[in-house]
Symmetry: C2
């Protein structure tokens, strides 16, 4: 297992973590400058943050600062109320893949979507099996294009408490079953060790509770082309006061971070540990410098 | 599948649903009278509600009104910070079993517990595998006594969002694995159809999202002695504003209630459909008569 205690070489900052500082929205180019000033080597930005500044401007800034991506957030949200909606989702995912290419991301993270309209409080239907079928078909379609341009897709299983609104893929086992179905291992031995076309983004927040987590991480590692495309950290607070935006700083909750990273690394993962904290009540109220300094300190001491 | 549309013969009221009415705590004997007045044949009361009125008094009232139990809430909370705590939990579960016998309950529902102290915001440790081991050992000990007095134990898998604080058994598969380990099917053919010594209480709120729900319900039905000891309904709201007390009335959320009851009945379940709604912001603010009338109406129209 890699020693993180002496530097933050393998720290990536998901830029949602610094999206709000002292309660105010902060532009992505400023966030990137803050990360560069602290020697952060990688980030994972969100599409809306990139769009607000401009894709080309962000691409140039990252290149100039020698900052790479640990992932790009996000594609997905496939299920829709009607055929036009399904087509629009595919088009949007194609644009997301193109943006990920422009930014030289190692993968596009997929928050796959769930019951259409549920996020707005008006689900168009309740049939979660139908949503899962639409997710399957949508990923299959995106995968064809993603393969053609060489952009791996990383399914992020989301916590079951977000199954209605954000993602109907809710366990690592379920995500890996879908990977095996849509992207079966190929016979070529040259696959060994390279990223799979379709893999997973593992976020400890969503998966820490899963009794099958250790065995499924090991399964992900046994794939010839690695399914482990991204690793996200934060912490689960007790109590958790909000279903979306009350994530904890690493070390402040109950997730066994060192143990989980051990499992992931034993399965062959050697990439960044990406900090993704949504925190309306706490970290988003603090100065960005404090949040970033704490991410670095905790990366070294508890991740 | 049974037809619920013409009566509420198979409706049970979990008395937490009526615990608060117009924002005020209501005593269990009054709740029971309300249920009796509406022709409700079964309830599932909570230990603290019973204790506040008196066990013998409640037992007499239920007998006089010819109301039976669909379950007794609850045993469990096995993990503890030290050996004294573990022993105290076992003693308390023995008392819960005795109370369930006095009330002639068909099963004692187990909310098994999780990281000790987490419910108070101070987890004594973070090792969820250790908590799961303590739960296993605790249930094994309780089961010995429960068998001797003939009280089935029903493990209730809780939603993963409650894995830190209330129950570290979070999927039906995990619960059934534990049932098979601690209460393996016995060769006697006389077991067929009788309740297992150790089974599960299936609450749609906790399990609706699970991609393996249908297959695991079928598995529960294949056991010689049925594992399906209780069936709880409410609904999952979008948005859900609180991790514990924002359950919806049946029909107001996204759970496919008719489909799920179909699976449960296909697996052999023929007992009550028990309404359990914790709702600080909505139903607990309304008059009890309104809540109860709505439970009856929805039982007939959507459950």
């Amino acid at each position: 297992m890699r020693d993180f205690s002496t530097n933050h070489h393998w720290l990536s900052i998901n830029t949602a973590t610094l999206r709000r500082q002292k309660g105010q929205e902060v532009a992505l180019d400023l966030i990137i400058d803050q990360c560069a000033a602290r020697g952060v080597r990688a980030i994972s930005p969100w599409r809306d943050q990139v769009a607000a500044v401009g894709l080309d401007k962000i691409a140039r800034q990252l290149k100039a600062l020698n900052i790479e991506l640990s992932g790009y957030c996000r594609g997905g949200f496939y299920p829709a109320a009607d055929a036009a909606g399904l087509r629009a989702a595919l088009d949007d995912n194609r644009r997301a893949i193109d943006e990920a290419k422009t930014l030289n991301a190692p993968c596009l993270v997929l928050v796959v979507g769930a019951l259409p309209g549920a996020l707005q409080g008006k689900p168009a239907y309740k049939d979660i099996a139908r949503a899962r079928g639409e997710v399957r078909d949508g990923i299959a379609a995106s995968l064809e294009y993603a393969r053609s341009v060489g952009m791996p897709l990383a399914i992020e299983p989301l916590h079951p408490m977000q199954a209605a609104e954000r993602a109907c893929i809710n366990t690592l086992e379920q995500a890996l079953d879908l990977c095996d179905e849509l992207d079966p291992p190929r016979p070529a031995t040259s696959d060994t060790g390279r990223p799979a076309d379709l893999g997973i983004a593992l976020d400890v927040y969503h998966c820490w509770w899963d009794p099958k987590l250790e065995s499924q991480i090991a399964r992900a590692g046994r794939a010839r082309a690695t399914r482990l495309l991204a690793y996200h950290v934060c912490d689960w607070l007790t109590p958790t006061r909000d279903l979306l935006n009350d994530r904890g700083m690493m070390g402040d909750g109950v997730v066994e971070l060192r143990k989980l990273r051990g499992w992931v690394e034993a399965a062959g993962y050697a990439g960044y540990s990406e900090v993704e904290i949504f925190s309306t009540l706490d970290w988003w109220q603090r100065p960005g410098e404090e949040t970033l300094a704490t991410c670095i300190e905790r990366h070294r001491s508890v991740v």
